[in-house]
Symmetry: C2
Subunit: 250 residues, 2 copies
């Protein structure tokens, strides 16, 4: 296939994906938040330069198998890399748009257990509550550091679940940051679905479980990285990751 | 198909499922915890009778698509019904084995937001932390009531993720509670996968994303409810739920 044909195919795939996606119900609100965030972080800071703004994506996207979604294909990712990197970007003076999967790791919370409220706190004798001694430093710094970043206007958190939400939000972030050119960066640590079921091909309600076999046909998600670089935010710096497979024999 | 044939088919399906399942790595530890829990709750309580013991299942199970699991089919369920019912069973004097999906709703935590640590607490002026006023009652009662149930020996929490873990754990709980006969109850509120990929049919590593289409073939999970009632815990009382589909036109 020559380059021109490949471009046409990708364009057709991208169009098919977005045409098929259920529209974001809060795209207007997200755009507003982004514009405010970019504006706030574009005035000169202490060193006389405007802050760099990085969009960190984190956690896995889901590909629904039904429109009123009961079943979906999920991509496992704890979001550890994205959450950690966000902390380091903030320390390095960046403003961070944290585009994360609901329920995945949050910045400044990496050293906490799975269910921090029930595991890090205990009742006192007078039926009040206190932090368990082992966790007191981790809990305090999680709450304080997170609050400083959000209240200071340097951390904007935007949650997603499905591949449809994720790519539509990435598109909005891309086009919103275009105005700041090379001051924008994309650090794509999310585990993005490779395959999806186009919305119109999906059954509306739960797939009935009558037959012995279920055959699910999925279509490849178009490679959006090139669209981000070429169309949405052509001057931004992009970092992406390949899944690292560790081959260990047990 | 006559009844005998159907029974044979179910038995063959059940055998195929368990033969195909990766063995639980902590089955010994779970059995020990269960035996201690059953013993502790089988001595007479205040009213002269031993406590009833209910196993509440909660949240959705996953069906992995790869052995070193990156992708899996998930069943959406918040675990709200299971968590709520657990609270009511405890109030009614039952001991509860709470078999729950990691990350799903926990008993006594229903009225808290998605990320309670970051949303319910705030820093004080001296960089210490405190509960936000709006949440002070909910946070306190979550921690205190949960602690009382666990420390009092009336709530045993066992987490699962995959359909393989869930059904093996349900089998252990079933056979462990057999000795208490009709004093055991099963309240099956989990959203259990209808289909799975047999472990041996799975690719070992991540499915490669080369081709434009992905065709996933899944096999029906055998109906284990009848096995639970007939073989694992024949005298226990069982409650199960059908998924409730709400048909609303937008």
């Amino acid at each position: 296939m020559d380059t021109e044909n490949r471009t046409e195919t990708l364009e057709a795939q991208v169009k098919a994906f977005f045409d098929s996606a259920p529209p974001l119900h809060n795209s207007h609100e997200i755009t507003q938040k982004l514009n405010q965030f970019i504006q706030r972080n574009s005035s000169s800071s202490e060193n006389g330069e405007a802050r760099r703004i990085v969009c960190v994506t984190s956690g896995g996207t889901t590909a629904p198998l039904e429109q009123r979604c009961v079943r979906y294909v999920d991509n496992f990712s704890s979001g550890h890399r994205g959450a950690t990197s966000t902390e380091y970007f903030l320390k390095a003076g960046y403003a961070v748009i944290f585009l994360y999967r609901r329920g995945s790791f949050q910045p400044f919370c990496r050293s906490l257990p799975e269910d921090p409220l029930l595991e890090c706190f205990e009742p006192t004798n007078d039926l009040n509550i206190q932090v368990r001694k082992d966790y007191s430093k981790a809990v305090k710094s999680a709450i304080v550091d997170h609050h400083i970043a959000v209240a200071g206007g340097h951390l904007l958190k935007l949650p997603f679940s499905t591949i449809f939400e994720y790519l539509q939000m990435l598109q909005i972030i891309g086009t919103s940051t275009r105005c700041i050119g090379p001051r924008a960066m994309f650090y794509l640590a999310a585990a993005v679905s490779d395959y999806y079921v186009p919305w119109k091909d999906m059954v509306e309600h739960k797939i009935q479980s009558g037959s012995h076999l279920l055959d699910v046909k999925l279509v490849q998600v178009p490679k959006m990285l090139s669209v981000l670089r070429k169309d949405w935010a052509p001057l931004a710096f992009c970092v992406s990751f390949k899944v690292l497979m560790v081959f260990v024999r047990h």
